[in-house]
């Protein structure tokens, strides 16, 4: 078939295969066996073409052809990345000559005109031209850093963050983008050019990356740079209406929101104005849920918001139903998320198996403001008043019943997330400015709010994997990165524009920032440390203690240079406290020891001296918060936040497209061992879980586990270690392959006991997915059935000589399960507060963490427990164990189907 290509000017020309091949060849520069790779991409491109295809589509087709081969070899990722870069260069720099030297030169030379054109076209802020020496900035631009990108990261960066011209065409290259963000955070420095270069050096090498909103808006005429907002909705119609408006304006400014609705009176509560009763919080929340759908955040993302409610609210049982997929649409939130704000009092009642009372906040208005012992005392008074008939509306349920209901909802709808009010408030260093009524959309921010203050937080994240040198952390570089990032974040606050005065007030008076991390798992993989090992927990301590120390020290330095934040006086900082010191207060108020190793792993850091320094001034009310970083982690080509690898190969469903994520560290290791070619298809078929591939040495399988095969207690332990040093909180994603509700209850209970401030999204492993397309699994062979095969004696299919696979043994019927559950529940609830003297805590903890899961298990699943995690799958006639949920129904479904 003769193909014609439609050119940009509308004319047609004959398809030129040679030109395509040459451009792929350039993208394969420096690789092993480039010819076969070029041929593969060229062949795959050709089958997808059609007559009349446009030039842009031709570029797209070549990139897609490279992308779909990434699962064969990560070199194709590089090819795809370079092909994509080529299209950006072409669009921004024009038809440059293909020589890399000339490209480098043109890329530098064009930079000043990019800024000038941007300013003239009102795409960029005037200060971008006025405040900087553009020639000097051009001279440091390093186009070779574009080589660091992986395809999904580059594609995400361009799609999400890059500034487009008025015709929505690419206007900046990746290096221009980093320089724009650097400059957009340096306007007010004495020497803006010098600092822009310092910020650029860090970001362009992915050592830290600014938060999403900052990347989108820095350097533009509308610098809305904040990432998170937290607002309270008060119990009067005027404030509810104002809040709807505030939510819309803040969403438009491209931030994610937390919104507390605990103060709204309960359903059936009397209204004074017209002698009727209230419809409760749900209909009002629904207005907000609808409002955020209408907003395109910064034109690029949908509005996003999380509702917070304390669980003593009378409508809390309705609240946990908000995310169910069935039911009256007016009572369901389709867009907003939900989080339950739980007190220590509640968790203790779960443990003691006593009743939990719910009230109408109209009658118990002070509960929302109280925490710690004061909350417990007041709560007890209300309980007494209720029992004495002095409250109009209340109800009680067994505390364990509500706790179970929360977790059942969490498993089914992934909501509500569990966030703990008391550790958040008791450990806050900014507790002089009021109660913290909620966390934010991603459960890592802990800032107070009231009618006059809408809390604001500004984020950036350090890429730990970007600080490895010869199998160790380059501590000096990490210090420099931390200090630079803190300064950039502090700069941001004076440039930031915010849409409502309550947010401006809170932002300028508290100067709250949240420096996080990403690439945790990426780093420990390269260091050879399994996620669920004592070494990884100690590594967590080391990293977080170090960053915490340097961040605090830098903020104290900035206070000397620029002055303290307005609300500094009266804060815990002003009393010489640092985050780790607040553990004691939590233990005192809770009346139990926080079950976590508290020792320093960086003995040389002089915390004593730092306490003295902090006392005399801090620039920022908060310093650290670990965001989930799902997007900027992707940009940096590393694992997000403190999460483990989701799987060794998996797909990411993002607004910018669906990407295949493959663990480059693992591929490199397997290539070094000459195993990659042999096992790559199996890795896909086993959905990225290599634990049963015997060809791979056990120590490698130990390091490269999937999130569903890591013990959930390890997620808790990593977060608990980090949380000690972090003054705000961490977005702790949880992953469970086990739907046993009692085990889930124990995991979350452990999270509370270990002092976590919050947990985040719960990912449940799906029990059943679609048939796989690119790997062929014979469903009948799996069942040990041969169908018509017996009639074709010589046909190939007759060779499906499956050993009547262990299928039969697998129809293990659960031994009377109901009884078992009862027992297990009691066991969990009987756990006594672990009062371990602090001195003895340190090393015993390791052993404890490791054994916790087995401790729970034997109660319910005697001998079969370990096998129950696996399902057998047959590939090439061999039986593999696939990590699977332990739901007994699943076992029957997959293996014992006859």
């Amino acid at each position: 078939m003769e193909l014609k290509v439609t050119k940009r000017d509308g004319t047609k020309e004959l398809f030129n295969a040679d030109r395509i091949n040459r451009s792929i060849e350039r993208a394969a520069f420096g690789m092993m066996d480039p010819i076969s790779k070029v041929t593969q991409v060229a062949t795959d491109t050709k089958v997808t073409l059609y007559d009349g295809i446009t030039e842009e589509e031709l570029d797209e087709a070549t990139i897609s052809a490279a992308v779909q081969n990434i699962k064969e070899d990560i070199d194709y990722d590089k090819i795809a990345t370079r092909l994509l870069l080529k299209t950006v260069y072409k669009s921004v720099l024009g038809d440059y000559d293909q020589s890399p030297e000339i490209l480098k030169k043109v890329h530098k030379e064009h930079f000043p005109s990019y800024i000038k054109q941007g300013v003239a076209g009102k795409i960029l802020d005037e200060r971008m031209e006025k405040n900087f020496d553009l020639e000097k900035l051009s001279s440091v631009l390093d186009i070779s850093r574009d080589e660091i990108f992986i395809y999904s990261g580059l594609s995400g960066l361009l799609h999400r963050y890059s500034v487009k011209d008025k015709n929505q065409q690419a206007f900046e290259t990746p290096q221009y983008l980093f320089m724009r963000v650097a400059m957009g955070n340096a306007y007010n420095e004495k020497d803006p050019t010098e600092w822009a270069i310092k910020f650029y050096e860090k970001m362009s090498q992915h050592e830290y990356i600014a938060g999403g909103s900052t990347n989108i808006n820095a350097g533009t005429p509308n610098p809305a740079l904040s990432n998170c907002f937290l607002l309270e909705i008060h119990d009067d119609m005027g404030h509810i209406s104002k809040s709807v408006s505030d939510v819309m304006l803040l969403s438009k400014a491209s931030g994610g929101l937390g919104a507390s609705i605990t103060k709204l009176r309960a359903t059936g509560s009397p209204l004074s104005s017209n002698n009727t009763t209230s419809s409760g919080p749900t209909p009002f929340a629904k207005i907000i849920d609808t409002a955020i759908r209408a907003i395109q955040r910064g034109g690029k993302k949908k509005g996003a918001l999380c509702f917070y409610m304390e669980n003593w609210h009378l409508d809390f049982p309705d609240f946990i139903e908000w995310k169910h997929n069935a039911g009256d649409d007016y009572l369901r939130m389709r867009t907003a998320d939900t989080a339950a704000y739980l007190s220590d009092e509640f968790m203790k009642r779960v443990e003691a198996k006593t009743d939990w009372y719910m009230f109408d906040p109209k009658e118990t208005p002070d509960l929302n403001e109280l925490y710690g012992k004061a909350f417990s005392a007041r709560y007890a008074q209300y309980v007494q008043m209720a029992e004495e008939g002095k409250l109009k509306m209340w109800k009680k349920v067994p505390a364990t019943e509500q706790y179970r209901a929360i977790l059942v909802a969490l498993q089914t709808t992934s909501h509500p997330w569990l966030v703990f009010k008391d550790p958040i408030n008791l450990r806050a260093l900014n507790n002089n400015t009021g109660t913290i009524h909620m966390s934010n959309l991603c459960t890592e921010i802990c800032l107070p709010q009231d009618r006059k203050n809408v809390a604001v937080c500004n984020l950036a994240s350090i890429n730990i994997a970007g600080h490895l040198k010869k199998k160790q952390i380059d501590w000096q570089k990490l210090e420099e990165t931390t200090r630079t990032a803190i300064r950039q974040l502090d700069n941001l606050i004076d440039i930031n524009v915010l849409p409502i005065p309550e947010a401006v007030k809170s932002d300028s008076e508290n100067r709250a920032i949240g420096l996080g991390v990403m690439g945790f798992s990426d780093a420990i993989e390269q260091l050879g440390i399994p996620y669920d090992s004592p070494h990884s927990y100690d590594f967590t301590d080391k990293i977080f203690e170090f960053i915490s120390y340097m961040a605090i020290d830098e903020s104290a330095n900035l206070a000397v240079e620029r002055g303290s934040y307005k609300n500094f006086a009266g804060s815990e900082w002003s009393k010489g406290k640092v985050p780790v010191d607040t553990m004691e207060k939590l233990e005192n108020e809770r009346g139990m020891i926080i079950d976590v190793d508290k020792k320093s792993k960086q003995n040389w850091l002089d915390w004593g001296a730092l306490r003295v320094k902090v006392k005399s001034g801090m620039r920022n009310a908060t310093l650290m918060a670990v965001a989930p970083n799902a997007n900027i982690g992707l940009v940096a080509g590393t694992t997000p936040g403190i999460d483990p690898r989701f799987a060794q190969i998996f797909s990411r469903n993002k607004i910018s497209g669906k990407y295949l994520d493959i663990n480059h560290n693992l591929v490199t290791e397997l290539k070094n061992l000459n195993l990659w070619g042999m096992v790559k298809d199996k890795i896909i078929e086993l959905q990225g879980d290599i634990s049963s591939i015997e060809e791979i040495p056990p120590h490698i399988r130990e390091i490269y586990k999937t999130s569903f095969s890591v013990s959930p207690y390890a997620f808790v332990e990593v977060a608990a270690r980090a949380q000690k040093w972090v003054d705000q909180a961490l977005s702790r994603n949880m992953y469970l392959d086990d739907r046993d509700i009692d085990k889930t209850m124990d995991i979350y209970f452990t999270a509370w006991k270990k002092g976590l401030k919050s947990t985040y999204y719960l990912h449940m492993k799906p029990r059943h997915g679609a048939e796989q397309s690119t790997v062929s699994v014979n469903k009948s062979a799996k069942l040990g059935k041969t169908g018509f095969a017996s009639v074709f004696k010589n046909a190939e299919s007759a060779t499906i000589n499956v050993e009547p696979v262990s299928v039969v043994e697998n129809i293990v019927i659960e031994p009377v399960r109901e009884e078992v559950i009862e027992k297990e529940q009691e066991q969990i609830m009987d756990v006594k507060p672990l009062v371990i003297p602090t001195e003895t805590v340190s090393h015993q903890i390791f052993a404890k963490v490791q054994t916790q899961l087995p401790n729970v298990e034997p109660i319910s699943f005697t001998k079969t427990s370990s096998e129950k995690h696996f399902q057998e799958k047959i590939i090439d006639g061999k039986v593999y164990k696939v990590h699977m949920p332990t739901d007994p129904a699943e076992n029957n479904l997959c293996d014992g189907c006859q």
Binding site: T48, Y50, D51, G52, S64, Q68, H159, G256, K301, D329, R404, V408, Q411, T412, S414, A630, N631, F646, F650, S651, R652, N653, G657, K658, L660, I684, Q687, R739, I741, T744, H763, M764, K765, P766, R767, H768, A770, E771, Q772, S773, T774, V775, N778, S780, K785, G787, F788, S790, V791, A795, I813, E814, E818, D887, P888, A889, N892, L893, C897, Q898
Partner: protein, 331 residues
């Protein structure tokens, strides 16, 4: 109790259970329950406005096929499968499957209502397009033997008709044609278009994978219980039914992509259909017919590996209802 046969009073007892696999599939199907309104299509509408005429044609054509097809499957299940099965656990599963087919129909209806389609025109397409008529006639031909000719299910010929009908509907229509339709629909998401529609297809595909599991298991069970059906002649006939289905699909694919769009053309889809058909043949113990490779390597990203959703941006399609529920199994 044999799986096929005339209804008798003891069929109404779920216990003791003879076909545990069917009951397990029923339970999984219940957990897979989803509703069309969980998907918001607003962003997809914006994509729609940017799509080329050929791309829009492909979407409309696919919708025009799927919408009636879901109802045809339901009719086949109700008239050609359900009445001849004795096992109540199979009846439970089929009841859920029929609800799912209805749900898919309503889901496509929801898309049809949301997008700026000329609905009347789309409803007419399957009546007016010969290649689509051929597909429907193919399925109805086997169903008619079950409903109009009325063979006795307890005779070998009656059982053969049961298998023929099931192969035409379950293996060819649901297990092959639908799969190529899904690949086409998901290819738009691969290019970052119609992402929410893609999420809906994820769910439909998850359901259909279960339907296929049930169908294959049912055919295997019938063959096992009725070894007289295992003749070379009948095996060849079944294979030819599948091959005929693939041939019919060729003409349909030409109508689907008269010019081709970026990433897809008729030949590409034909090859995918042949690849899927080979897998179905193998699963039935029949020799492969085509021996072609899978042209859609990108489907590994679309369906083969676990998906991590950025849930602020996309509907998470991996959730299951009825969690925390502990299943009693006492046979």
């Amino acid at each position: 109790m044999p799986i096929l046969g005339k209804a008798s009073p003891e069929d109404m007892n779920l216990r003791p259970m003879h076909y545990q696999w069917a009951y397990d599939l029923y339970n999984q199907a219940v957990r897979n329950t989803w509703f069309p309104h969980e998907i918001a299509l607003k962003e997809d509408l914006e994509d729609w406005n940017k799509m080329t005429e050929d791309e829009r044609h492909a979407v409309k054509f696919t919708m025009a096929f799927f919408n009636p097809a879901e109802l045809i499957v339901n009719r086949v299940l109700a008239l050609g499968v359900y009445p001849y099965l004795k096992s109540p656990e199979c009846h439970l599963y089929l009841a859920k499957q029929m609800w799912e087919e209805a749900n898919h129909c309503v889901a496509f209806e929801y898309v049809l209502e949301t997008f700026p389609f000329d609905r009347e025109k789309i409803f007419q397409v399957h009546l007016e397009t010969p290649s689509m008529q051929a597909k429907e006639n193919y399925v109805m031909k086997y169903l008619k033997r079950m409903t109009e000719v009325k063979l006795d299910i307890e005779t070998p010929e009656g059982k053969k008709d049961f298998i023929r009908n099931l192969v035409a509907t379950n293996i060819v229509m649901e297990g092959t044609w639908f799969y190529s339709g899904f690949m086409v629909a998901l290819s738009f998401r691969q290019r970052n278009q119609l992402r929410n529609f893609g999420s809906m297809i994820d769910w439909v595909l998850r359901d259909e994978s279960l339907h296929l599991k049930f169908g294959i298991q049912l055919i295997q069970t019938v063959l096992e219980e009725n070894s007289e059906l295992l003749t070379e002649e009948f095996a060849n006939e079944i294979k030819s039914i599948i091959v005929e289905g693939v041939n019919i699909e060729n003409a349909y694919n030409k109508d689907l992509f008269p010019n081709g769009i970026l990433g897809l053309n008729a030949d590409y889809v034909n090859q995918y259909v042949q690849y899927v058909a080979d897998r179905r043949l193998t699963e039935l113990g029949l020799p492969k017919e085509y021996n072609v490779s899978n042209p859609a390597k990108w489907m590994s990203t679309a369906t083969d590996v676990l998906e991590l959703v950025n849930f602020f941006e996309q509907q998470n399609t991996k959730y299951e209802v009825d969690s925390g529920h502990t299943q009693k199994t006492n046979v």
